[in-house]
Amino acid sequence: MSFDDHLLTLKYAFPKTLPILAGFAFLGIAYGVYMHSLGFQPIYAILMSILIFAGSMEFVAGSLLLGAFNPLSAFLLTLMINARHLFYGISMLDKFKGSGKKKVYLIYGMCDESFVINNTSRIPTNINKGWFMFYVTLLNQIYWVSGTTIGSLFGSMITFNTDGLEFVMTALFVVIFLDQWIKERNHISSVIGIAASVLCLMIFGTEHFIIPAMLIILIFLTFIKKFITKNEVISS
């Protein structure tokens, strides 16, 4: 591809990512300030945004670092939180085919937002599909890492009282939960998620409740599979 073709592709990709720019600037800055308020140097938030690049998980990772040292639990929790990537991947098997070496980055950078754009955009024939998806993914990661960097550097300059700012993580998860709740035709999965977690929290305590809660959720959802058809629960 020539330089002009790259420019054309980038010009086509950029407007599609503008809504993400707004969201990632806000959440990225919030994440940077949040990590600073937990007492971490800027490098933590910046590195995690580059290496993990999955917003929800990055918030949780900050809180995991403050708890007891339990890498297995951290690993399993990551698999569960990011399990949705498996399904993004399955949907993109075809679309990423034939994109060459870029494919590695397309998969590495496949966050919720890039998935939605790459999965739904109709790309004109004069635009290279592989490079379009590459630029969408790259732009989104640049927005996120920039937001995080600004937030974590700016965090040390903030002079107002940041007590309570850690609630931004709760707010984020409540909002995503509500979005799912609004879209669902039934609330079995949402309810079991809350109920199993509260039950395990009461039985096992704050440091040990995650793994049993995940097990109960998986077992329960597997058990009720025959009563639910895929059309009854809609989620993104």
Partner: protein
Amino acid sequence: MMTITQQIIIIASVVIGTLLTRFLPFMIFKPDKPTPSYIKYLGYVLPPAVFGLLVVYSLKNVSLTSLDGFVPELLAIGLIIVLHYWKRSMLLSIAGGTVFYMFLVQGVF
């Protein structure tokens, strides 16, 4: 407090777990073969449960033994629900809920 080495191990566990969820489908599934129905099913039903788990996880230190241990959380989540049903704006709901919570824990409780 964890040592630097322990922190690196935790972050590495999260990075490896995330990479696995992204790369695994491309290693085990072929585009022309149908996806197993159990996997598809989990794709539909798992996310709501996981975010339920995360809501509880983010509230795990809430204490019911005193008013200031849970009322700010309760009120802020109430505001988020109202804001979100009203405007459906992720940014407004998150910012509104967080600022209100900070106001509550700093000025009221």
